[in-house]
Assembly symmetry: C2
Amino acid sequence: MSSPHELQPNWSNAVAAPDSYRSVFKYAPDKFKHPSPGWVEVFKSEFAMTDADFQQRRLTGDEAVQVERKCALTSEQIEAFAQIVGRDNVATDDYSRAKYGTGKAMDEDMDLRAHVVRGAVDLVLHPRNTQDVIHIVAYCNAARIAITPYGGGSGCVVGNQADRGGVAVVMRTHMNKIVRLDEENQVCHVQPGMMGPDYEGALNRAPELFGAKRAYTCGHFPQSFELASVGGWITALGSGQASTYYGDACDIVQSQEYVTPAGIIKTSDIPASAAGPKVNDILKGNEGTFGILVDVGMKIFRHRPENTQRFAYMYPNWQAAVDASREIVQGEFGKPAVFRISDPEETELGLKLKGFDASWGNSLLQAFGQQRMQRCLGVGTVEGEKGFAVNVKKNVSRIARAHGALPLSGWATKQWEHGRYSDVHMREDMLDFGILIDTLETGVTWDNLMNVHRGVREFVKQRPGTICMTHASHFYPQGTNLYFILIMKPKDHDEFKRFRADVVSKIVELGGSLSHHHGVGRLFAPWMERSLGREQMEVLRALKRHFDPNDIMNPGAIFGPMAG
Amino acid sequence: MSSPHELQPNWSNAVAAPDSYRSVFKYAPDKFKHPSPGWVEVFKSEFAMTDADFQQRRLTGDEAVQVERKCALTSEQIEAFAQIVGRDNVATDDYSRAKYGTGKAMDEDMDLRAHVVRGAVDLVLHPRNTQDVIHIVAYCNAARIAITPYGGGSGCVVGNQADRGGVAVVMRTHMNKIVRLDEENQVCHVQPGMMGPDYEGALNRAPELFGAKRAYTCGHFPQSFELASVGGWITALGSGQASTYYGDACDIVQSQEYVTPAGIIKTSDIPASAAGPKVNDILKGNEGTFGILVDVGMKIFRHRPENTQRFAYMYPNWQAAVDASREIVQGEFGKPAVFRISDPEETELGLKLKGFDASWGNSLLQAFGQQRMQRCLGVGTVEGEKGFAVNVKKNVSRIARAHGALPLSGWATKQWEHGRYSDVHMREDMLDFGILIDTLETGVTWDNLMNVHRGVREFVKQRPGTICMTHASHFYPQGTNLYFILIMKPKDHDEFKRFRADVVSKIVELGGSLSHHHGVGRLFAPWMERSLGREQMEVLRALKRHFDPNDIMNPGAIFGPMAG
C-alpha cells in the first residue's frame, strides 16, 4: 500500500478538451476513476515499474484532432444532405469527422493517442427522425456513399470505422426518445439513440412520465450501460449483467424497424407466429450492415428493487464454482439476475485490491481450507416477485454449500455493484503510463468450459507479465461465457495486436464462440468464416446482398472489406 | 343424453385397411375415440340432424388408394435412388405415393374421401442416415427433382403435398433415434424422424437407457404429440401445451443440421454468440423449403412429475379470464406450464358435454353469479422445482381470485389432460357423417386480443349452424394465441373452403398473425405477403434462393407455387 513518503501517480484530472483526441477515445470526457493504490502495487510488481514510471504521462491525446484525409464528398452532395436533415444537423469539422467514425476499441484508443485517425467520415449527419434516415439511405444508396451508423459509440470491436469515408448517421443526438410505452403488452417502443440511463430512468418513472400503473425496468445493464445506446445493445448483440434472468439483448427485443437500401422493414409486436422463418430474429446483430435501426420494441419488466436478494459465496476452487453454477442454472427453480463467478486469478486480485489478503478474513478462509489461487468468488442477485426471489436464493444457497462454498455477506455483491459501470474509466489512466487493459470473451458449452479456460490461460501465461483475470457472468442451462481481462505493458501496439490475434485464434481453435456479447465489427471479421463455417457465412452474405446490394451500410463490419 | 330406445350412431370400429384412403387420412389407422352421446346431442341440435342421419357413413375412404398420375421419373433415376438408399428403402406403390405426399389437413381428408389424390409423389425414399440424405439432395438438385420431406405427417396446413411430383424423403422410418444425450449441457441430439412419444419416453428413462444421472423431459407436448416427429416440431414452428413454461419449439432448439442444395449447414450448441446475426434462428420454421433437417440439438429439462401442481378456476367472464391471465404471465413469479382459458362458448360446450350444465355444480356456480355463456374455464399446471411450483400456484390463485374466479378442484385439469391427445380421433367419425371440425389459430398482442376474438366470432357466427369454440393456450408477457375450433356441416367442400378463407382473411385483417403454431404450408401461403408485408417476404425469398436456387425443396410451401 502507498505511504505518504511514496510518490503518488500523476493521474490526469483534467476534463478532456472538447476538440481533443482524448475527448474522442475517453469513455466520458469528464468522468474519472483512478486506479487504487492496490492496483498501482500490482502494476509495479507485474510490470517491474517504479514510482517514477507513474509521473510522466505519454501520448495523452490532449491535442486538437486533425483529420488529414480531405472530405471526398462534393459540395452538391453536402448541400443535398443539408437539405435532408437541416443545416444545423450537418457537421464537417475534424473533431466530428473523427469522433463519429470511432468507437472505444483499444486499437482506436492507441491509434488516436498516436494521432492516427483511421475511421474519419467525410460528413456527420444528425437525423431528426425516421423520414430523415429514409432520405439519407436512399440518397447514399443512389450515390454509393458509405454510411456509418453511430449509437452510443461504446463498441469495443471497431464497429464504427469509416474505412471508405462517407457519412456518419448519429442516432443519439435526436433519435433518443421513448416513442410509446405500451404497458398492456409490456413493450416499450424506443428510438435507438436513447442512452441506457435515460431509458432506464424513464421506465423507472413510468407512472409519473407516462401515467403507467407500474414502474418498469429494461433488464439490460451491460458494463457500458452509461455509455451505450439501446440501438447498440440490439445491433451488436449485447448482454447485460443481469442477463441470466432477463435474457441477452436479442431476447429482450420484441420488434424492430430498419431502414435499409432494400426498403423499410418493420416486424410485429405479436409474441409468436408460425408464419415462416422469423425475419425479426435475423435482423438482430447486423451491426448496421443491413440497415439503420430506427425503432425497437423492447420487452419491459416490473421494477421492484425492494425485492432484490443478494448473495455471495467463496468456492474452494474453480471446478466447484463451475459445477455449482451449472446446477443452479439447470435447477428450474428460477434464475438469478446477476450471476457471476471469478476464477482464481480474478478472485485473488480482487481480494488483494480490497486489502483482504492481509486481513483476518483471509485467515478465516484459509482455516476453512480455502487456498490462495484456488478459491473462487461467486456473487449474484435475484429479482422478480418476492416469493420467487426468496426461493431462488434459498436454492442457490443449498447448492453452493453442497459444493463446499462459504457464504459471504451481501457486502461482496454490493462492492461489485459499486464498481460495475465506473471501472472502465481506469483505462485512460493506465494507458497514460503504457499499461493496457483489454478484454476478450467467448460463449462456451458446459462441457468445453474448462478446456477453453485452461487453454486460453496457458497460452496467455506464456507471455511474461500478463495478468489474465477470468469470470463467467452470463449463464444458460446449456453453457455460459468466459470473459478474459488481459492487463499488460506491451512493447508496442503491434506486439499487443499480434498477441491478441493469437488469443482470438486460440479461443476459436478451442471451440469457444468468436464473441459472446461484444459483436464482430472489423476486429473479429477476419475470424468469422473460420468460426461459423463457410455455409453460415454464405447465408449472411446472401442477406447482406439482399439488404445492401451496393455495400454502403457500415462496409467492413462483420463481413470484412469485401462484403458486396 | 341418449337413451336405450334411441339408435346409436353407426361409428366405425374397423381398423383402416393398410392400402386404403382411410389409412392415409386417419390420424392413426387403429385408434378411435367416438364422440360422446353429449356430442351427438350437440350435432343434432346445431345441425338439425336426426338419429337416422348417423346410420349411413358416407365417403369413408375404405377403398384401396389409386394414383392416376404416372410416375414421371425414368427407370434410370429410380435405379439411381435405389443405389443411394438401398432397394428396400424405395417404394413405388400407389399407397406409399399418396401417403407420403399427404398431411392431415382437412382439405386432404376431404379430397381423399372423394378419391382425389392431389399430392402423390413419384417415388418414396426412406433414407437410412445423413449420407443418404446428402446424396438424395445432390441428385435431386442436379436433376431438378422436387423433394417432399416427410416427418410424422401430422401437419394440418398442406405442408407435404407434392404438387410437382418428385420424391418423398421419409424421415421417420430410419432416422428416428437419439444420437447423443448430452446431460452436462442439457442438450439431446435427435434425428428428426423420431416420434414424440418415443423421444419423451427415452428421455424419461435416461438413467436406464443412457446411464444419465437424471430423468429428462422434452417439454414439448402439442396435441399432435403422438402423431408428430421432432423434426416437424421445429421445421413448422410448433407449440406444445406446456409452452408457457418450456417455450415454443423454436425456443427449445439449441442447434440444427440441414442438408440443403447449397450445402450442409450445421449450427453450434454454444448457447450464446454475438458473432453476427444468428443463422440458427432463421433456419427454424422453413418447412423443408430450405433443406432437410437431419439432426437437431434440443434443450432438455428435468423430469419431476412428482412436483406438478394443478389448478382450475371458473372466471365470471372472458374479460376477467384474460385480465387475470395477463397479470399471471407478467407477474414474474415464474410461469405455469400448461395454461389455458376457454371462452364462454367453449366453456359452456365443455360443461354440457360433461353433463355439468344440469348438475348441482351448475346451480352452485350460478348462485355465485356465474352465468351461462359468460363464465370461462381456466386450467393449468406448474412444473419445475417444488418450491418454484408451489410459489407459482400460490400466485395464480391470488390473482385468479382477485379477478372473481371460483376455484375448481384439479379434477377439471385432469379431465382436460385425459383427452389432450385422443380428441383428434373424433374427426373421422364426424366426417363419416358430413360434420367437419377444423381449427384456425393466431398470435395476438394483449391489446388486440378482444378485438380479434370478437371480430372473428362475429364473422363466423354470421354463418348459421357454426360452432366456434375459442381458447388461449400459449402465454407470453407480450400476448397470447387464440385458437378457434370450427364445427359445421357444410353444403360441400367448396363452401367450407371459401368460408375458411374468409375467416383467415378476417384474422389477418384484424391484426392477428397468420398462424401461431400450425405453420404455413400451402394452405396459408397465399396470405403470407399480406400478413408479413412485401419486405419481409423478400427476405424469405432471398433466403430461399440462396438455399434452394432450383426450387426443388418442398416447392409450394410457404412461398406458393412461384418461389424460385
